[in-house]
Amino acid sequence: MQQQFDASKLGMWLFLATEILLFGVLFVGFGLSQGRWPEEFKQAHHHLDRVLGAFNTVVLLFSSFTMVMAVNSASRSKRKATINYLIVTILCAIAFLVVKYFEYSHKIHEGLLPGQYFTYLASTDPMAKGNSVFFGFYFMMTGLHGFHIFAGVVVLCLLLKETIKGKYNAAYYTPVDLVGLYWHIVDLIWIYLFPLLYLIG
C-alpha cells in the first residue's frame, strides 16, 4: 500500500513537471517577445484590470489553503470537514472563472483579441503589432491556465462525490492528496502569471 502511494505520488510529480514545461514554453515566448517589443508590452498591460487580477490571486490562494485543509482532514478520516473544504475550494475555482469571464468579455469588446481580430489600434499604428503579440500571449497563457482551473473543477467534483460516498480515510486518501498537488501547481502558475502580465512596467 505504501509502495503504491509512493509510486502514485512520484507519478504525479512527474506529471506536474510536464505542466511546468507546458507553461514554460509560453513564459519563454513571452519573455523573448517582450525583449522585442518592450514599449508595446508596457502599453498593452495597462489594459489589464489589476484589481480583478489581484482579487483572483487572493481567491486562488485561499482555495489552496482550503485544499490543504481538505487533504489534512481526509488524512485524519474527518469526512464532514473534507466535504466542506472541497466545496469551498470548488466555489473559489468557479469564482475565479466568473471573474475571468468578465475580464475576457471586456477585452473582446474593446477589440483586444490578437492577430487578425486586433482592432483596438489601426493596423498602420507602429505600436499595433507589439500590442497584438502581447494579447496573443495573454490569451494563450490565461486561457491555458483557465482550462486547467476548469479541469480542476471537474476533478474536484469527482473527488467530492467519492468523499461523500465515504471512500477515503486515514488508511487511503491518495486521490485527495494527488488532486491537492495538482491544485497547488495550478495556483502556483497563476502566482507567476499575475505579476508577469498585470504588474510589469
Binding site: 507519478g11 510536464t18 490578437p114 481580430y117 503589432k129
Partner: protein
C-alpha cells in the same frame, strides 16, 4: 559459449512445469482490448508498430521510385505535390508512429518489468490508457492522410505550415495526442524503475536496457510537453491567426523553430537511446562476457539525455540566430559525441576476447555498431558550424539521420525483436533466413544511404522533386538499395511470422542470458514470476557458476 547457465530452466521456476502463459491466460478480443498486462500491451504496440512501419516503408519506396529520374515531365505518374506529401508522410509515420513507440512502448513494455523482477509496471491502468491514446492519435493521423495528406515535412515549419492547405491542424493535433501517450509511458516507466525493482536490485544492478529506457523516459517527460504546446499554438495560428508565429502580425516564425527543436532534438535521443539499450543487452549476452565499463555506459545514457536538451540550435545555423548562439550550440553538440563514443568503445571492449556467437540478434547488433558509428561521426560534420553551412538541407543530412534513426534504432529494434522473440511468443525462428535477411538489410542500407552522402556533399538539396542529371546515377543506386532493404525486411518478417505456426518450442533461456527476464518461462506466465525474484548478483555476470545462479528466486 561458456558452459554456464546451460540449463534452460536455470532459476527459481525450475521447480514448476510449463504453466499456462500470458497469451493463453485469457481468451477473446475484449480480454486484449481491456488488458492491463504489460506483456499484452507490449505485444499490441508491437503489431501496431509493425503495421505502421509497413505504411511508412511504402511511402519511402514511393519517394525513391519518384527520384529514379530528375527530370519529370508534366505527365509523370507522381507529381511534385504528391511527392511532397509522400516524403512528409514517410517522416511523420516513421517518427511519431514507428520509431518513438518501437522500442520503449513495444519491447520496453514487454521486457522492462520482467528485467526488474516486477509483476507489472507501476500504473497498469495508465499503461492501457496510454495505448488507447496512441490509437486515437494514430486514427487522427490516418484520417489526415485520407483527407488529402499534409505537405509540410515532419517539422511543420512556419510560416509554410500556418498557411498551406490540407489537414495540417489535424496532423499537428495527432502528433500532440501521440505525445500524451508518450508522456504517460515515460511517467509509468520512471515510477516503475524507482519503486518496483526486485529486492536486492540496487541502481547499479539494473540491466543497462533499463538505464537507457529510464533516460529515454526522462526526455519523454521533460521535452514532449514543449512540442505539445507548440503544435497547439500552430493549430490556433491556423484556426484564428493570432499571429504568434506570423511576422506580419508582429510574431516570430523562428520562435517556432526554437520550440520545435527544443523538443525534437531531445526526441532524436528518445529515438536512439532505446536502440543503445538493446545493444547493451545483446552484446554481453552473445559475447558471454561481463559488460565492460558498466557504470560508464549507465551514466553515459543519462549524460546523453541531459546534454540533448542543450543542443537544439544546431538545427538552425542558417536560420538567423546570432553567431554567438551558433558557436555555443556547435560546441555543446560536440559534447554529445563523448558519451556516445564511450558507449561504442565499451561495446567493442565487451566483445574483445569474448566468446562471440554470431546468432541473428548479434548480426543485427554488429550491423548497428557499424551503421551507428557512421551516423554518429557524420553528425560531427553537421554539428561543426562551418561545414554545416555547406551541408545544411542537403542529402548529407538525410543520409546522416537515416544512419542514426534507421541504421541505429530500427536495426537495434530488429535485433531486439529477434532477441526477445522466443520470450514473447515462445517459439524459435529459423536462423538461416533470419541471418540472410539481416545481411540483405545491411547491404541494402549502405547502398541506399552511402550514395546519399556523396550526393549531399556534392550539393544535392533534400526534399527536391527535380535534380540535375549528374546526380542520377547516385539516385538510381539509392533506389536500388531501397529495394534490397525491402527484400531483407520482408524476409525477416515472413520468417518471424512463419515461426508462429509451429508449436511453442522455445526454451526459457535460449541465449544463456543473465538478466531476470530469462529466469521465467517462455512465454511468461500472467504474473511473470511464481515467486518474487531476489537478485544475488550483478547483471552480465558470466563468471559466477550455475549453482549460484540457482539461488535467484
Amino acid at each position: 559459449m561458456a558452459d554456464i547457465l546451460t540449463s534452460p530452466h536455470a532459476g527459481a521456476d525450475v521447480h514448476h512445469g510449463k504453466e499456462i502463459d500470458y497469451i493463453e491466460a485469457k481468451k477473446g478480443i475484449w480480454s486484449w482490448m481491456s488488458t492491463v498486462d504489460h506483456k499484452r500491451l507490449g505485444l499490441m504496440y508491437f503489431w501496431a508498430v509493425v503495421a505502421n512501419f509497413i505504411v511508412g516503408g511504402i511511402f519511402a519506396l514511393l519517394v525513391r521510385i519518384t527520384l529514379l529520374t530528375g527530370n519529370h515531365g508534366d505527365n509523370y505518374f507522381i507529381n511534385a505535390e504528391t511527392y511532397n506529401r509522400f516524403f512528409t508522410l514517410h517522416g511523420i509515420v516513421m517518427v511519431f508512429l514507428v520509431i518513438i513507440p518501437s522500442v520503449p512502448a513495444a519491447l520496453g513494455n514487454f521486457v522492462l518489468p520482467l528485467m526488474l523482477g516486477a509483476k507489472d509496471v507501476a500504473f497498469p491502468r495508465m499503461n492501457l490508457a496510454s495505448f488507447w491514446i496512441y490509437i486515437v492519435g494514430w486514427t487522427m493521423a490516418i484520417t489526415a492522410i485520407c483527407l488529402g495528406m499534409v505537405d509540410t515535412g515532419w517539422t511543420f515549419y512556419t510560416p509554410y505550415s500556418s498557411t498551406t492547405n490540407g489537414p495540417v491542424s489535424l496532423m499537428a493535433l495527432a502528433a500532440f495526442t501521440l505525445g500524451f501517450s508518450s508522456i504517460f509511458t515515460g511517467i509509468n516507466f520512471i515510477a516503475t524503475v524507482h519503486k518496483l525493482r526486485a529486492p536486492g536490485m540496487g541502481w547499479f544492478d539494473m540491466p543497462l536496457f533499463v538505464w537507457s529506457i529510464y533516460s529515454t523516459s526522462l526526455i519523454q517527460v521533460l521535452a514532449t510537453p514543449v512540442v505539445g504546446i507548440t503544435l497547439v499554438l500552430l493549430t490556433i495560428e491556423r484556426a484564428w491567426g493570432i499571429g504568434v508565429f506570423d511576422a506580419s502580425k508582429g510574431g516570430d516564425p523562428v520562435l517556432f523553430q526554437h520550440f520545435f527543436w527544443f523538443y525534437s532534438h531531445p526526441a532524436v535521443y528518445i529515438m536512439i537511446l532505446p536502440g543503445m539499450a538493446i545493444i547493451s543487452e545483446i552484446i554481453p549476452t552473445f559475447s558471454a562476457k561481463t559488460m565492460f565499463g558498466y557504470k560508464a555506459v549507465a551514466y553515459s545514457s543519462v549524460a546523453i539525455a541531459l546534454i540533448g536538451f542543450l543542443v537544439w540550435g544546431h538545427h538552425m545555423f542558417p536560420s538567423g540566430q546570432s553567431q554567438l548562439a551558433s558557436l555555443v550550440f556547435s560546441f555543446l553538440t560536440f559534447l554529445v559525441a563523448i558519451p556516445s563514443g564511450i558507449k561504442v568503445f565499451n561495446w567493442l571492449a565487451t566483445m574483445w576476447r569474448g566468446n562471440i556467437a554470431m546468432d541473428t540478434p548479434m548480426v543485427w547488433a554488429v550491423s548497428f555498431l557499424l551503421l551507428f558509428t557512421i551516423g554518429g561521426l557524420t553528425g560531427i560534420f553537421l554539428g561543426s558550424l562551418s561545414t554545416d553551412i555547406h551541408l545544411h538541407d542537403t542529402y548529407f543530412v538525410v543520409a546522416h539521420f537515416h544512419y542514426v534513426m534507421m541504421g541505429g534504432t530500427i536495426t537495434a529494434f530488429l535485433g531486439g525483436v529477434h532477441y526477445w522473440w522466443p520470450k514473447m511468443f515462445g517459439r524459435m525462428y529459423n536462423e538461416g533466413p533470419a541471418k540472410i535477411a539481416a545481411y540483405l538489410y545491411f547491404i541494402g542500407f549502405n547502398v541506399l544511404f552511402l550514395s546519399q552522402f556523396v550526393m549531399g556533399s556534392n550539393g544535392m538539396p533534400r526534399r527536391y522533386y527535380n535534380y540535375l542529371p549528374e546526380f542520377q546515377p547516385w539516385h538510381i543506386a539509392s533506389t536500388v538499395g531501397s529495394w534490397i532493404i525491402a527484400a531483407g525486411l520482408f524476409l525477416a518478417l515472413g520468417n518471424l511470422l512463419a515461426s508462429l505456426r509451429k508449436p511453442k518450442d522455445a526454451p526459457d533461456n535460449p541465449w544463456k542470458g543473465t538478466t531476470l527476464e530469462w529466469q521465467t518461462q517462455s512465454p511468461p506466465i500472467e504474473h511473470n514470476f511464481h515467486d518474487q525474484p531476489v537478485l544475488h548478483r550483478a547483471p552480465y555476470d558470466y563468471r559466477t557458476p550455475v549453482s549460484v545462479d540457482r539461488e535467484i528466486h
